[in-house]
Structures are given as structure tokens and as C-alpha cells.
Amino acid sequence: MFEGELEQGELEIGQVSALIKEVKPASEIIKDLVKEYEEARMELSEDKWKLND
């Protein structure tokens, strides 16, 4: 991971790696996370998600 040996090194990474599309500065990653989180939170507050009236 450190030396860049991609074939014979043990490269530890999680399943969520399939969703990573860009190398970014940590501050931007956090901004993106917060933005998506807030958007998703708003979506869930829509009336269509109400199960009981």
C-alpha cells in the first residue's frame, strides 16, 4: 500500500471502494459527505415517506 506494489501486496480496502471515483483533499471529501447527508435527510422528511397520517 505504501510502496505501490499492487500485485503482490496485501491491499486492505472496504466494499465501499466501489463507490470511490476521485482522489480528493480530505476537506473536500468531508464537504461532499455533509452535503449528500443533508440532501438525503431532506429527502426523507418528504411526506411520501410517512407511513401513518
Binding site: 500500500m1 505504501f2 510502496e3 505501490g4 506494489e5 499492487l6 500485485e7 503482490q8 501486496g9 496485501e10 491491499l11 486492505e12 480496502i13 472496504g14 466494499q15 465501499v16 471502494s17 466501489a18 463507490l19 470511490i20 471515483k21 476521485e22 482522489v23 480528493k24 483533499p25 480530505a26 476537506s27 471529501i29 468531508i30 464537504k31 461532499d32 459527505l33 455533509v34 452535503k35 449528500e36 447527508y37 443533508e38 440532501e39 438525503a40 435527510r41 426523507l44
Partner: protein, 265 residues
């Protein structure tokens, strides 16, 4: 976050409003000291150090976090019974990483301040129970009385929201930051991470110490060994070679420790 989380990443995360964690498992004792000192100058916010409890020179790492007054320590890969009290006496907040309800409760008994419960999706060392984050978090939440941090499969804002819906008080994000500018993973590895598709990682070496890894040449060797029924000794040898030669700084992890029940990885 072994190999990937230097002071540059930890301080950047803390400065951006998260809690940055220095991964000490891949650092020599004097290297950790430098990273902690630099992190302190790079951020005025709290940051943490992750100490895998099977680390060969753990005493020296413990001494560093105490001397340097690191505010928070995440312990993993071992039993928190011995070290929690020692760290807490020094005023350090202790968080222990587990992958089951059973070990979450043990950690709570040991007096830790919070627990990270990490599901099957996570990279690196993983639980034998293979419980997914979706099932693990509500189960731990039901039993645990201290703060619960969810991990495993969380790399998006949507997953963060889902974790809170499951009962988590906070989330821990690893893999996403491997592909950050500040991560110390090799540039080639970062580029490789971007190419990983669905199914591109697998949990291997369940006999020895389950670990989720990217599918590559090393993975194929492990798979070949496992499918012909290789012994634990053979797997250990393979793992040792893969890590020592190509990835890891230090291959002198005590073999007995890997097999010990106490030292669950």
C-alpha cells in the same frame, strides 16, 4: 487505515470538522512520535491515534500517546482489558473497535468510553461472524449503554444517514480517505482504488484473521492456498511474506498472538 493515515490526513480531517485518526499500526515507535508532534502543530482541534493492541512495541506507542497527551485513542485488534484503565488514568478517552455485540459488551465492561462497531463491509481486519453493518449496529445499539460509532461500508452521506437511522451516535470512515490527497497510500494504490468495482474486494483468511482486501495477485495466491486447504501455518507464511516484503514495515507480529483467543482480530 494501516499505512494510509499519517499526520497530514489526521490533521486535515480534524481541521475540516471530523476527528482525524493517526494509524499507528504501520509506524515504528519513533515514527509515531513524529506524526503526533506534527499533528499537534497542524491542528488545534482534537485528533486520535489508533493503536492495534497486537503491535509488537505497544508499550512504546502507549508511552508516546501519554507523553504527547493525545486526547483520544482508538484501540483495536486485541483485548482492551489491560490498557483501558492505564490510558484513562492519564485522562485519555478510549474507544475500542469491535465487530460483534459480544465484544462490544466486553469493551464496555472494560470501561471504554465508546465503541466502534464495524460490519462485514469494512476493509482490513474484520470479524469472524461476518455481521453486516445493517445488522450489527441495531443489535449493538440494543445492548450498549455507551456511545456507538458505526463503521463498515460508510463512505457516502447517504450511508452516514443510514447509520444514524440504525442507532449510531457517530460514524467512522476509513476507505474513502485512503483515496484522499493527504493519505500516505501510494499514488498507484489510490488510482487502483478508483478502478475497484462491485465485488472487487473479498474477505480472506478467515481461518487465521479475516481480512478484506482488494483482488490482486496476492489475493489470488491466498485464494489458491485456501481452496486447496492450506494449513494455518502456510497462510501465516503467505501473509507474512505479502506484508513484510511488499506492504508492511514490520513482519514480526507474534505468530502465537495471531492464534490466541484473547487476541481476536
Amino acid at each position: 487505515m494501516i499505512w494510509c493515515s499519517p499526520w497530514e490526513l489526521a490533521s486535515a480531517v480534524s481541521n475540516a470538522g471530523g476527528l482525524g485518526v493517526i494509524g499507528a499500526g504501520s509506524m515504528y515507535p519513533d515514527v509515531l512520535k513524529i506524526h503526533v508532534k506534527r499533528c499537534k502543530t497542524a491542528t488545534s482541534k482534537p485528533f486520535a491515534v489508533n493503536l492495534p493492541l497486537l503491535y509488537p512495541d505497544l508499550d512504546q506507542h502507549i508511552q508516546t500517546v501519554i507523553e504527547e497527551k493525545v486526547p483520544i485513542v482508538f484501540t483495536s485488534a486485541g483485548s482492551p482489558s489491560k490498557w483501558t484503565e492505564i490510558l484513562k488514568k492519564e485522562g485519555i478517552t478510549v474507544v475500542h473497535v469491535v465487530s460483534s455485540v459480544k465484544f462490544a459488551l466486553k469493551a464496555q465492561e472494560c470501561g471504554v468510553d465508546a465503541v466502534v462497531a464495524e460490519g462485514f463491509e469494512a476493509g482490513g481486519h474484520n470479524g469472524r461472524e461476518e455481521t453486516t453493518t445493517l445488522c450489527l449496529i441495531p443489535a449493538v445499539k440494543k445492548e450498549l449503554n455507551i456511545p456507538l460509532i458505526a463503521a463498515g461500508g460508510i463512505g457516502t452521506g447517504r450511508a452516514m444517514l443510514a447509520a444514524f437511522a440504525l442507532g449510531a451516535d457517530a460514524v467512522q470512515i476509513g476507505s474513502r480517505f485512503v483515496a484522499s490527497v493527504e493519505s500516505s497510500a501510494h499514488t498507484k494504490f489510490k488510482q487502483e482504488v478508483l478502478k475497484i468495482k462491485e465485488g472487487g474486494t473479498k474477505l480472506m483468511m478467515k481461518q487465521l484473521a479475516p481480512v478484506r482486501m482488494m483482488k490482486n495477485g496476492f489475493y489470488e495466491k491466498v485464494q489458491e492456498a485456501e481452496s486447496r486447504g492450506a494449513t494455518i501455518d502456510e497462510l501465516f507464511h503467505l501473509l507474512g511474506r505479502g506484508r513484510a516484503k511488499k506492504v508492511c514495515l514490520k513482519a514480526n507480529w507474534n505468530k502465537a498472538n495471531w492464534k490466541s483467543d484473547k487476541c481476536r482480530l
